[in-house]
Symmetry: D2
Amino acid sequence: MFNAFIEPKKLKRGPQVITLKDAAVISAFTGLQSGDSVVDAGAGSGWLAVYLGSIVAPSGKVVSYENREEFASLAEKNVVRVGLDKVVEIKRADVFQGIGETEVDLVTLDLADSEKALASAFQALKPGGHCVGYLPCFEQVKKFVLESKNFGFEHVRSIEVGVREILVRDYGCRPATKGLTHTAFLSFLRKPRMP
Amino acid sequence: MFNAFIEPKKLKRGPQVITLKDAAVISAFTGLQSGDSVVDAGAGSGWLAVYLGSIVAPSGKVVSYENREEFASLAEKNVVRVGLDKVVEIKRADVFQGIGETEVDLVTLDLADSEKALASAFQALKPGGHCVGYLPCFEQVKKFVLESKNFGFEHVRSIEVGVREILVRDYGCRPATKGLTHTAFLSFLRKPRMP
Amino acid sequence: MFNAFIEPKKLKRGPQVITLKDAAVISAFTGLQSGDSVVDAGAGSGWLAVYLGSIVAPSGKVVSYENREEFASLAEKNVVRVGLDKVVEIKRADVFQGIGETEVDLVTLDLADSEKALASAFQALKPGGHCVGYLPCFEQVKKFVLESKNFGFEHVRSIEVGVREILVRDYGCRPATKGLTHTAFLSFLRKPRMP
Amino acid sequence: MFNAFIEPKKLKRGPQVITLKDAAVISAFTGLQSGDSVVDAGAGSGWLAVYLGSIVAPSGKVVSYENREEFASLAEKNVVRVGLDKVVEIKRADVFQGIGETEVDLVTLDLADSEKALASAFQALKPGGHCVGYLPCFEQVKKFVLESKNFGFEHVRSIEVGVREILVRDYGCRPATKGLTHTAFLSFLRKPRMP
């Protein structure tokens, strides 16, 4: 069903691979699993929402906020294309105006000003739930983490994930000469179990 | 249920974190999902089997081979401890003697001589299924990938995954000074859909 | 004479190695050579001053500013110990109060507020000369580079340099498991040849 | 004189930058300085010979072996172009047939089979002198280091050096998205002071 993630040809496209390594770590480091409930913003092409949907399926749910109509429409098509329309919902709304969902296991934020959605994220999460920022620049990491403490979040860790390709040949093995050297930092926050 | 993977304290233990990043990428790059069938060898402490079990649960299955009694026993305890005993089976058998399972989605090999299990892995996999080697040394990567072609595998890619911690403080942000710099290379093979 | 830099035992001490890789790149990326004139601040233990002295010797000059007496005294001892007292001078003065030297080829700044020495550095440098900041935190990089433009500097590049140890053994080769993952960012500025 | 190494435009050309970081570390980790004596093979375009010449100038010497006439001729032109013809000599000879120089401080080897020049390198070096292999593939590192012991060398360390560019902008700082991820491993050997 989710061959979109595993076809070698697709893996070779830079940004896609990058997103895949980061999506992998977001999912693993928050312990995401089948049946979980996720809020994602913004949807963009819907790629992360679809990836997370593939983990929480079949009984879980991903609601992905997107208030730019062209992206919402594209994301919806991608969701249908991979057969996840019962798991992933693209919601035409501004996440900065609030999150309607509650008792959520994971909120993922990939916005220019992700820190502005932290108050809403905190309310939406269940105790022990995670909020992850996908943050290309250092300044975003700093704002996201420092402001999160005002809302009651614990900062679990901030990291960057690198994947380097190894060329394996009969005549000699070595890391690839060129490659992706940065996508984004990932900041992991957690709503305390006991507030 | 799988809080073992997400507790900050546990994440801080070096090898565990490492395993988590690699497990994350093994799962994501092979498109593993709820309902899938996995064979793993050797079980060791059962950590990877448990992680993969958390992804394929509730309807999927992980069979993890381990022929050293003390490890099999430890792995079984860990499986029970996290409540995955209906998903993960520790099998007291030598994977080099053959794999009984068939139509498997993923075979993961973390052995000193993982290449010796490639013939069995190929037979166990369904067309399009993945075999991933967790290989600390480059000689292992070379043997694993080059020998895999003799059995009909396609080499999708070999990579190494790095995670670097970023310190986020009011008075200054920077990457951590020391950290893990290598765990293992990951080699992804695939059984062709049409042989 | 400069065996301090090359003794294997010394190379094994973390921070020393780190400094060596960064010193190597500072020197190489600015084209430093025998006969050149350098200003360094602050001296600290005198390590970087001694390293740069070993490159500009025998006819060049390094003046290293240090206004904390205990460090100035330590740095002087180190300079004498390696026999560079005719090349490296430890100057007991506050670099923020101005730099007396002129027509300098290279200014290296390793201070908590290195950007505050940029005006003085610009004046001290000859046209085409380089100023390099050794900056542990990203906020320092940003201030250093953005403020440098106010004084007329060109930003050549900012980088981070990593060195990873490879274990070479008959029974298997691989990168070391743990190691240094960050020392500082290096920002390279240049005083334009034609203002 | 050596502006070739420091012009920003030249630094931006991938392989050149790469060579610069590695040349920087070769020079620094072996303590190379003005007055030293170096043997280099093969010359190729003469780039490394010229770089090392810029460090050992004015009184030192670099002899660079090259038995392919077209490269020897190119390397000679580059040496003259940067004004180092009194320091760097391009020698039309096969380094595998032996090295005529003696009491050398440093031998650098960048050949497909660098390990075949180890016996000659050992003879040419003075006690305490260094031999550095520039080795793109893992297999070369292994052969180079393991065979070096047969000739009496100590293995000081094998490393890889990475440089990552940091983008510094008013609106956000972050590492560059793409870049060089590998050039070669560097293996540092040393002829013991007391055999």
